[in-house]
């Protein structure tokens, strides 16, 4: 629940803040992390991330080797090379750029390379569109990467930093995608609290990969051909790495909370404890929904919100615990899986299987279509009679 700060608290909170966009926040995180290698290709709405970071490097505020490549496919290829050699590696992309990276993202995940990617979530072509939805990140859903969706610029900054020790945890060693909503977060300026450079550097620590390719004392073969006799076992090991993520993330989140006072979980429960009706969502729209939940609560309606931050690995158990007591649940997807229900809905339905809540699935915000408080109030209203809307619903669409 939101508590209104006093004027003195407000001034104290804002005294330390910087007015930055989510893209700039991600770039500041990268400046402080100071990765060894950053192969990259520009694409809207991610471009301000690499533009801001390139300026930091040009000004000597970070010593990263930036590799300007000719496409995102090459960006990810170079990232794989750099990470295999033993360099801390990051990159950034969006939409078609992520689509072009995908085949190499599968390879990075299977080679267990802890590459952190900043994503400015954007619709996929066609038709061509530059605005936000989550279709691009959903392309990477089954690739073996850890996936976050953040709500605001502060989370964009914080998750870029937390992703580094998470990715590099030796039980994990997986790429991480930190998705921030294109334009809505990448291009919106908000107050962000930045930590001290030195504190961030200590937090992420030195990069230690267990088997760097360039260690001539301990030669290894990496990325070889795999026959039916071993391929399956290697894929099984990727699942084991994913299974290690929740504990590893808890440790990272605890350390980060000790440093910053901001404790993050894979999910965020908002006024759910006694809720009868709830919405599940990812990304920036969660903020707008919190306002609606507060308004409806004031009118005596028992409503709540579940924000999912970590989409891969999906926090199935936590979602079940958070929603098990809720009678009616609407899942709002910002992507489609044509011919089926939304990707987030499928996960929540699996988490709640046999647990009881009636469920509805909505698609919203494709290609940047805005989601207003009135739309959200209507979803809560519809939830009063969930049986009447079993089919997929579309918010704010002209039929």
């Amino acid at each position: 629940m939101k508590t209104k700060p006093t004027e003195a608290e407000r001034i104290e909170m804002l005294r330390r803040a910087k007015l930055l966009t989510g893209a700039e926040g991600a770039a500041h995180a990268m400046r402080q992390i100071n990765p060894d290698v950053f192969p990259v290709y520009p694409i809207t709405p991610q471009t301000p991330i690499i533009q801001t970071f390139s300026k930091f490097v040009a000004d000597g505020e970070a010593s990263t080797e930036i590799i300007n490549v000719e496409s995102e496919h090459s960006a990810m290829s170079a990232a794989i090379g750099a990470a295999t050699a033993g360099g801390r590696t990051m990159t950034a992309t969006a939409s078609q750029g992520l689509a072009l990276m995908i085949e190499n993202i599968y390879i990075a995940a299977s080679m267990r390379l802890p590459i952190v990617l900043a994503i400015g979530n954007r619709a996929l072509s066609g038709p061509i569109n530059i605005h936000c939805d989550h279709s691009d990140s959903m392309l990477a859903r089954d690739s073996g990467v850890i996936q976050f969706f953040v709500e605001n610029a502060q989370e964009a900054y914080d998750f870029m930093i937390m992703s580094v020790p998470l990715a590099e945890n030796h039980d994990v060693l997986l790429p991480v995608l930190v998705g921030q909503d294109g334009f809505t977060i990448t291009h919106t300026a908000e107050p962000i609290l930045l930590e001290e450079d030195e504190d961030v550097q200590n937090f992420v620590g030195e990069y230690e990969i267990p088997y760097p390719l360039l260690n001539l004392q301990k030669p290894t073969t990496q990325g070889p051909f795999d026959m039916p006799d071993y391929y399956f076992e290697h894929k099984r090991q990727q699942q084991a790495a994913m299974d290690a993520v929740p504990d590893a993330f808890d440790t990272v989140a605890n350390h980060y909370a000790a440093l910053t006072g901001r404790r993050y979980d894979a999910i965020e429960e908002y006024r759910l404890e006694d809720a009868e009706r709830a919405i599940v969502v990812m990304g920036s729209s969660a903020g707008t929904m919190k306002e609606v939940v507060d308004d409806l609560r004031e009118q005596g309606e028992a409503v709540g919100l579940l924000k999912v931050r970590m989409f891969r690995p999906f926090p199935t158990k936590k979602v079940r615990e958070a929603l098990g007591h809720v009678q009616k649940v609407a899942v709002l997807d910002r992507a489609m899986s044509f011919g089926s229900k939304g990707p987030l809905y499928m996960e929540v339905a699996e988490a709640l299987f046999g647990a009881g809540p009636s469920m509805q699935n909505y698609v919203f915000g494709l290609g940047g279509r805005d989601l207003f408080p009135a739309d959200i109030r209507q979803v809560f209203e519809n939830l009063k009679n969930p049986e009447e809307m079993r089919e997929m619903q579309y918010i704010g669409i002209r039929e």
Partner: protein
């Protein structure tokens, strides 16, 4: 209490810059803020909107602004093609950069709420600037009393110094002051 400002300008006139500059000044003055432009196919001269939100509570809304408290128009040629008063709250006001008289503008807008006119282009040229966006920021601060002039100038210095030379920043500060001063005589017009 949330306040929402909608800025109307043309690509290249600094609507996005001024939306962030005013947000920064309000943040220095102790308000939570948000500033964002509305992106379309961007090209120089095309109409565009930018927004500034401020509140005494953390801002969690991430949807567009539909019913602003204040509207600022950086270029009165937009009045022919954009309904700049759309959604404007009845108790809100509109501030227009124009050479026209208030009466002529009121007729053109078909708007009977509070209207402020300022010839910001003239002030900008007199101070040595091509664009009047910062003059409008000064005038807005003057009308509202918030953000105060010193916060506006501090924000402008911080924000504009990233891209502009100290000399040009100095001219911008003068333009903000001039806009602020002009707004102090605008009551007669209002």
């Amino acid at each position: 209490m949330m306040k929402e400002i909608r800025w109307h300008g043309r690509g290249g006139q600094g609507a996005k810059t001024v939306s962030e500059l005013v947000a920064l000044a309000l943040m220095h003055h102790g308000y939570f803020v948000q500033a964002f432009p509305e992106y379309g196919p961007e090209r120089s001269g095309a109409p565009l909107q930018a927004y500034t939100r401020s509140s005494d509570e953390p801002i969690r809304l991430h949807c567009g602004v539909t019913d602003p408290d204040l509207v600022v128009v950086l270029d009165d040629s937009l009045l022919h093609e954009i309904r700049v008063t759309e959604g404007l709250k009845p108790e809100g006001f509109i501030l227009v950069n124009t050479k026209k008289t208030k009466e002529a503008l009121r007729l053109q807008l078909g708007f009977d709420g509070t209207l402020y006119c300022i010839n910001a282009d003239k002030i900008a040229v007199e101070t040595g600037l091509l664009y009047s966006n910062v003059v409008m920021a000064g005038a807005l601060g003057g009308i509202l009393g918030n953000p105060p002039l010193e916060d506006l100038k501090r924000a402008a210095e911080e924000f504009l110094s990233i891209k502009l030379s100290p000399k040009i920043v100095e001219i911008n500060l003068k333009a903000i002051e001039a806009g602020f001063r002009e707004s102090q005589h605008m009551e007669e017009l209002a």
